[in-house]
Each structure stands twice: as structure tokens, then as C-alpha cells.
């Protein structure tokens, strides 16, 4: 019998080697796999390449991982935020490599990795500094840039409900990068509020089929957390 359930985030992330490329889901706090990031911080692997929309906020989570000197490179669309001081300092000191990618190209490159597309022509970024040195082509009168897939060894994502086969549903705009990252990484670890019995998820409403998921960790009901006090 298949069971992708893991008893803890630590167990699910135990094998991450130094130098791994890790996708981290979330857009701002929505969909951020907080418990998995904390476990990654604890786990100790270093020389990491992180693929994520942002580059950490405040002093916790991804920011703490950067602060601990564990990340050599980040591929993201929007590192600069009002509270991205840890990334900002590392970047200014030349201690972290940045690959800046327009958000939609970031998403499509991740999707391409999951869908076996070798490369694709996108109009986004054509003629800008972020397309410098990249192959371009005019197709049917429109200008495009050739972009390549972004793969990863691990994807750490946050979902709402999961089952033992790894089927996942999300909640509202926390879905964001989760489904495409799950498809692009060799190993996908999902934290979910609750693991439900097989058959409880509506097959029409499963957003990430279990084939994309390797480990599921139950982290407890989000509505019990402090930041949900307002809608509890």
C-alpha cells in the first residue's frame, strides 16, 4: 500500500544534500510552507539554490536560511521588499547570486520543467535587460525570447488537504506556485493542514494529482494559528 505520509517535516527533508536546488512555494505569506522551511533550516544542508517568488521577509523562514549563509543562489522575481533586509545585505555584499526572472516567465519555466518542454518562446521581457544575451525570434509578427525550464531536486509547498497518495487541494490564493513546483521537482514535499482518508477529496477538485507528490506532512489546522485570528 502506498503511503506518502511522513510523520514530520524533518523526516521528509532528511535526505536533502548540500548543493541541492530547492523550489519553495508561496507568494508573500500565502502558500508559504512555513514548517517545511523551518525544518530545512534545522536540517543543515548548505550551498543551496533556492527557486521562489520572493527572497525572504523579516528574520524568519527563507530570510533566516539566507541569513545562516546556506544559500548560494536565488532564482526569483521579486527579492526587494520593505522587509527583505537579509537578502539586501547579502546581495550588496556580493555574497548571494541572483537570477532575476519576470514572474510569468518564472512560472512558465517551472511549468515547462514539469511538462517536458525543452524551451519556449515568450513575449515577456523582450527588449529588456532581463532578456539580454537570450535568443530571440519574431513569430507571426510578434517578438519573443527563448526561455528554458527550471528544474529542482526538491519542491517544498503548502497545501490545504492531502491524502496518502499525495493528492492535494489548496485554499484561495495560496495555490499560487504549488501545483507547478510540484510538477517540476524530483522530490516534492507538501505540508497540509490535514491528511484526509482516501476518497474524501473530490476527484474533480484535486488540483495536484498525487503523481507529483512524494511526501505529505500534516501540520495542523491553519485556522488555529495566530494570523487567522481575524477570520476564525
Amino acid at each position: 500500500m502506498i503511503s506518502k505520509t511522513r510523520s514530520s517535516a524533518a523526516e521528509a527533508l532528511a535526505d536533502i544534500p548540500d548543493g541541492a536546488t530547492i523550489m519553495i512555494g508561496g507568494f508573500g505569506l500565502a502558500g508559504q510552507p512555513v514548517q517545511l522551511i523551518d525544518a530545512l533550516l534545522e536540517q543543515g544542508s548548505t550551498g543551496l539554490t533556492i527557486v521562489s517568488n520572493n527572497a525572504g521577509n523579516g528574520e524568519t523562514g527563507l530570510a533566516a536560511l539566507l541569513g545562516a549563509g546556506r544559500v548560494k543562489k536565488i532564482i526569483c522575481s521579486f527579492p526587494r521588499q520593505t522587509d527583505s533586509q537579509i537578502f539586501d545585505a547579502l546581495y550588496r555584499a556580493g555574497r548571494i547570486e541572483l537570477e532575476l526572472v519576470p514572474q510569468g516567465n518564472l512560472a512558465e519555466r517551472i511549468r515547462a520543467a514539469g511538462a517536458g518542454i525543452g524551451a519556449f518562446f515568450t513575449p515577456t521581457g523582450f527588449g529588456t535587460a532581463l532578456a539580454e544575451g537570450k535568443e530571440t525570434r519574431t513569430i507571426a509578427g510578434r517578438d519573443y525570447v527563448l526561455e528554458h525550464p527550471i528544474t529542482a531536486d526538491y519542491a517544498l509547498i503548502s497545501a490545504y488537504r492531502g491524502d496518502r497518495l499525495g493528492n492535494l487541494t489548496y485554499r484561495r490564493t495560496s495555490r499560487n506556485f504549488g501545483p507547478i513546483m510540484a510538477s517540476a521537482a524530483t522530490v516534492t514535499v507538501a505540508q497540509v493542514d490535514r491528511i484526509v482518508p482516501l476518497g474524501d477529496l473530490d476527484p474533480e477538485a484535486v488540483v495536484t494529482p498525487g503523481i507529483f507528490v512524494d511526501s505529505v506532512v500534516e501540520t495542523g489546522d491553519r485556522f488555529e494559528r495566530e494570523e487567522w485570528a481575524d477570520v476564525r
Partner: protein
């Protein structure tokens, strides 16, 4: 807007720019409002029109900003501000959301800008300052991500120089992507022919704008069409 005021003024406030732009959005339009200034537009959408808001972090049918008591951390807009959900909303992932934009399905996207060129080039993601931390987010996707791309901004910078320029000096966000420019002094159409003044604010004249911008501006103020082309 300005019609109920006793004396005509020659420039609009940001709120007035937003209100004027909102009047041009037709019933049934799908629209994305960029972070910052453009979000003001949502305050002025005509009540008798149903306009559906897209937020690129994966939602159609976004409602107004959420107020205390209704803040759901899973329901935010692209500016990471808590928002609400309207009946008929739908959620999708980032791949699908940016596919929707890139595929030209949105009717209008409204953006802010540092500079816009007379041909519709847009610079709004970086000032190119050597010590700045770069961050692009969805700016380049939004710039090409709708049937019509509208920019709203003040026509002059705080230093008094025109932000509508012959060619952008700041790093580009997109090439020939802006269709219309809503400013505090006038509304412009931008295309391969350059900038055409569509509408003047108060007693502003086209010649005044030519002086301010240093551009050969076409005078299109006798045109009557005022709505989404």
C-alpha cells in the same frame, strides 16, 4: 468629477485620474490593476457596470480590500494586501494565471510608470540606480498582458521633467506596449505614430503639453470616442 467644482483647474489629483480612467472601462471588462497607484481605480468603477478584477497571484473575481474581521491570509492581491472574494470568483495557479495574461485574455491592465515613451515603451521596474536591489515581479508580464495597457501617472516628475519622453532612459519593462496614458494634465494615445492628445484637463492646451514634454504631440482632442478601443 471636476464638473461640480466652481472653477476649472488645470490638473487632476491622483484620485481624479483614477476616476477618469475608471469611466473608460466598459461593462463586462476583465481588468488587472497594478500595485500602487492603479489600485485607486477600483474605488471609482461605475456601479452600473460589472467589471471583473484579475489578480496575477491566481484569482478572477477579486472584491474590495478586506477590513479587520474579514482578513484571510490566504486571500491577498498581487500587492499582498488582504482582499475579498465576489460570487463567481475562481482560483488558479501561477502558470495558468500568467498564461491568461500572456495569452491576451484580459481586456485592460492599468500600470504605474517611471517613464513612458511616445511610442508606448514602458519603464516602471527599475531606476537603474547602481546600488538598487533589482526586483521585477510581474511588471514585464503585465506590460504585455492585456488587450489594452493603460498607464496612469503624473505627467511631470517631482523635479518638473516630463515622464512622457521621446525614449525611456530608465531600464525598459516592455517595448511599444502602452496604448493609453492617463495623466494629471491630459490623456494620450500612444502608438507607432507617436503620442496623440485625446483629452485635456481644465484649461491645459496642447501647446503647453508640447512645451512640457518637448514632443511633437498630435492633437486628437476633437475625437469623440472616450471608451475602451
Amino acid at each position: 468629477m471636476s464638473g461640480d467644482k466652481a472653477e476649472p483647474h488645470n490638473s487632476w489629483t491622483r484620485a481624479e485620474i483614477a476616476e477618469r480612467l475608471a469611466a473608460d472601462i466598459p461593462d463586462g471588462a476583465y481588468m488587472n490593476l497594478g500595485i500602487g497607484l492603479p489600485t485607486l481605480v477600483s474605488n471609482y468603477l461605475p456601479k452600473d457596470r460589472e467589471i471583473i478584477l484579475h489578480t496575477e497571484n491566481g484569482m478572477l473575481g477579486m472584491g474590495p480590500e478586506a477590513h479587520p474581521g474579514h482578513i484571510d491570509p490566504d486571500l491577498i492581491n498581487a500587492g499582498k494586501i488582504p482582499v475579498t472574494e465576489l460570487p463567481g470568483a475562481s482560483y488558479f495557479h501561477h502558470g495558468d494565471s500568467f498564461g491568461m495574461m500572456r495569452g491576451g485574455h484580459l481586456d485592460v491592465c492599468v500600470l504605474g510608470a517611471f517613464q513612458v515613451s511616445q511610442f508606448g515603451d514602458l519603464a516602471n521596474w527599475s531606476t537603474g540606480a547602481p546600488d538598487s536591489i533589482p526586483a521585477v515581479g510581474g511588471a514585464m508580464d503585465l506590460a504585455i498582458g492585456a488587450k489594452s495597457v493603460y498607464v496612469m501617472m503624473e505627467l511631470a516628475s517631482k523635479g518638473g521633467s516630463s515622464k512622457l519622453v521621446e525614449a525611456c532612459s530608465y531600464p525598459l519593462t516592455g517595448i511599444r506596449c502602452v496604448n493609453r496614458l492617463y495623466t494629471d494634465r491630459a490623456i494620450f494615445q500612444l502608438d507607432a505614430d507617436g503620442a496623440t492628445v485625446l483629452e485635456l484637463v481644465g484649461a491645459t492646451t496642447v501647446d503647453e503639453l508640447r512645451t512640457l514634454t518637448g514632443l511633437t504631440l498630435h492633437d486628437g482632442t476633437s475625437r469623440t470616442e472616450r471608451t475602451l478601443s
